[in-house]
Point group: C2
């Protein structure tokens, strides 16, 4: 097991009827509040009105319209509003995109230069405004970690940044706020959660039973509950399990103590940055092909462990178990109605694959740090493989 | 799933060579440090000298000799020293006993009356001195939660208390500091960790897949690594897995969202309070008998789930799986050389069982809140069953 620091001071308020604590959670940091949200869904659901009622007596500046794959322009706008209104605290209400934009804005408000600097270079992230959030989509885990992902469509860059001060101070997690999440977003969010777990689970660190067995437990949670939530969108317990899984999948619980050479996320980020597709769906399509690429004599034990402990597959032949587990992964995502090819996701052309592959390898050093090292040619081949129907020889 | 608040702001420094951060971790709270530890083992291991070197330049008051099943007298002494020396911060170096005594002392130093009040009535726990700790025994989980257990041998009471301000600010978790832990303490500590998980796992809350699957993962971690650590005491990864399991088993991860009607702990606390036995060993001996008591038509599904997911037992008959799981639990503890009867633990008499049973039921309302409700007669029968060799009809 690798050394680690685990410091996750977010105050999680989980469940129904927690919002009475919102006023004090925000007001403890001051009276000038920047209230950031996305589209109109929180107005339709009534959450918007509940939030404003809680913020009565405070000076509220609103910024709406933060988009999926949140853009640096939204962050810059939030920074500008923070300066103009002498903002003390940011309240973000929405999914990972809204919260990520709010995080970088919180740091941007305390930074002299352009907020995009903070995305390009996490070492520039210093002080930040305090952040409170109300989560409405179970997916990225941003509600309980210090990470944010921002897109710059001018440069076709989708990059992650991080900082100790970016972690939310208080996160309100009410599963009821996800009852109206569509089947498509429920499926994509569940794939995102699972992908976070895969990135940490398939890792070269040794002696990490607790991280691995816990990750297997969270994977099983998603595999059991995502189909229930899709069939029965107001099933509280299914939504609750997905929501808490979202937070626990990427708060360090399964990653601290590991080496953390992530692969599928950087490869997907190129797809989102060039084609603005739904992140979780891109991850789902790429994952089984990546697993096939990564499976070899040095990794078969781990893939077989995954098959046995997560999918209950038992064979005398570990390679067979591993391959059946990869097929089970593919078929699970397909059962959530995620199109499992790039064409299905609306990406018809392939002329940019070489450029995207080179970027992915460069940004996250996939040729050096990945669980299964990848050259640009390997990544380009992965994009091409994801353009074909999936098959695996059992 | 039940509503919950999850707020665990302890800064965990896990691994080798983390102690360079000790000075700043302590000094951030002030210059006057109360350094609390147990017996001489930290002097033998060299940890004592390392700590003093780190505390150079600070005003250090020492309190040694905190005992297992820590006594209120030690807490009172620590409170007295805190007042006399105008203490700013407490540094506890040891196992759960030392840290628990330090926690109640930290609150006692800010409380007008006798520290025992804070144990009898958790609602009186208010402000507390900040606490930093270095853990040397993987067992209680106190290093990452707000709980403490203190014994008063004048009144034969062993009681738990809790408070939001009792959570350690910084915990240093170096698995190497547990290399010298004896086989006996390794076994008892592992049983304690498993018992925490059982208390939270066997619960009447519904829809708690994530808590349950995660608990199963931590149980598997202990079952795999405890025997390794006993055979090979300096096996770093085995010690690391047990240490992180200790923290994660009782920091809310598997209990938040549950109803939390604990049973075996209060029943064991009576044994410790009257006979001063090793807490974890008492838990181990009681647990399989309690499981047999709790197993019925309303709980068989959960016990079968436990058998399947933790022990890999598969039968068409769930009751058979459940019983085999209980036997596996007994045999596992026995394989760690824990005496599995009260006689083996040195308790020969039985004249106090009725009184102890009445106390256990009263203190934790076992007749109302437990997973399987227990009357005083049930608890007394459990003590008597634990006086016989274990057997179960499969």
């Amino acid at each position: 097991m690798e050394n680690f620091r685990f410091y996750v001071p977010t105050d999680i308020r989980f469940g129904k009827d927690q919002l009475d604590a919102l006023h004090d959670s925000v007001a403890q940091f001051g009276n000038n509040v920047l209230f950031i949200y996305g589209g109109g869904s929180i107005k339709k659901s009534g959450l918007y009105d509940q939030v404003l009622a809680q913020l009565a007596g405070l000076n509220v500046t609103e910024l709406s319209g933060v988009e999926p794959n949140p853009r640096i322009e939204s962050v810059r706008e939030a920074v500008k509003l923070s300066h103009e209104n002498n903002i003390d605290v940011i309240l973000a209400v929405g999914g990972g995109s809204v919260i990520d934009a709010a995080k970088v804005a919180a740091a941007g408000a305390k930074y002299e230069g352009d907020a995009w600097d903070l995305v390009k270079d996490a070492s520039k992230v210093g002080e930040a405004l305090p952040l409170v959030d109300i989560l409405t989509l179970s997916a990225t885990g941003t509600e309980m970690n210090r990470n944010a992902v921002i897109t710059n469509f001018d440069t076709n860059e989708k990059l992650g940044t991080t900082g100790w001060n970016l972690i939310p101070a208080v996160s309100f997690l009410n599963p009821e706020n996800t009852f109206t999440v569509s089947k498509w977003q429920t499926a994509a969010g569940s794939a995102d959660i699972m992908s976070h777990l895969f990135e940490q689970y398939f890792d070269r660190a040794e002696g990490t039973d607790i991280q691995d067995f816990v990750a297997e437990g969270i994977l099983k949670t998603v595999i059991k509950n995502a189909p229930i939530a899709m069939q029965d969108p107001t099933n509280y317990d299914a939504r609750a399990n997905l929501m808490w899984a979202s937070s626990l999948a990427l708060n360090g619980l399964t990653g601290k103590g590991k080496k953390n050479g992530w692969t599928v996320h950087p490869i997907e980020h190129e797809l989102s940055a060039y084609y603005d597709i739904t992140h979780g769906a891109g991850l789902a399509a790429l994952t089984p092909r990546w697993m096939e690429f990564a499976l070899d004599a040095t990794t078969v034990d781990k893939f077989a462990q995954y098959g046995e402990n997560v999918w209950g597959i038992k064979n005398d032949d570990k390679m067979k178990t591993a391959k059946e587990a990869i097929l089970a992964t593919h078929d699970f995502f397909a059962s959530l109605d995620i199109p499992m090819t790039l064409q299905g996701l609306g990406i018809e052309e392939d002329t940019k694959f070489a450029e995207m592959a080179a970027e992915a390898v460069r940004i996250d050093a996939l040729d050096k740090n990945a669980y299964a090292k990848m050259t640009p040619a390997d990544v380009e081949a992965l994009y091409r493989a994801t353009s074909e129907e999936f098959s695996i020889d059992l």
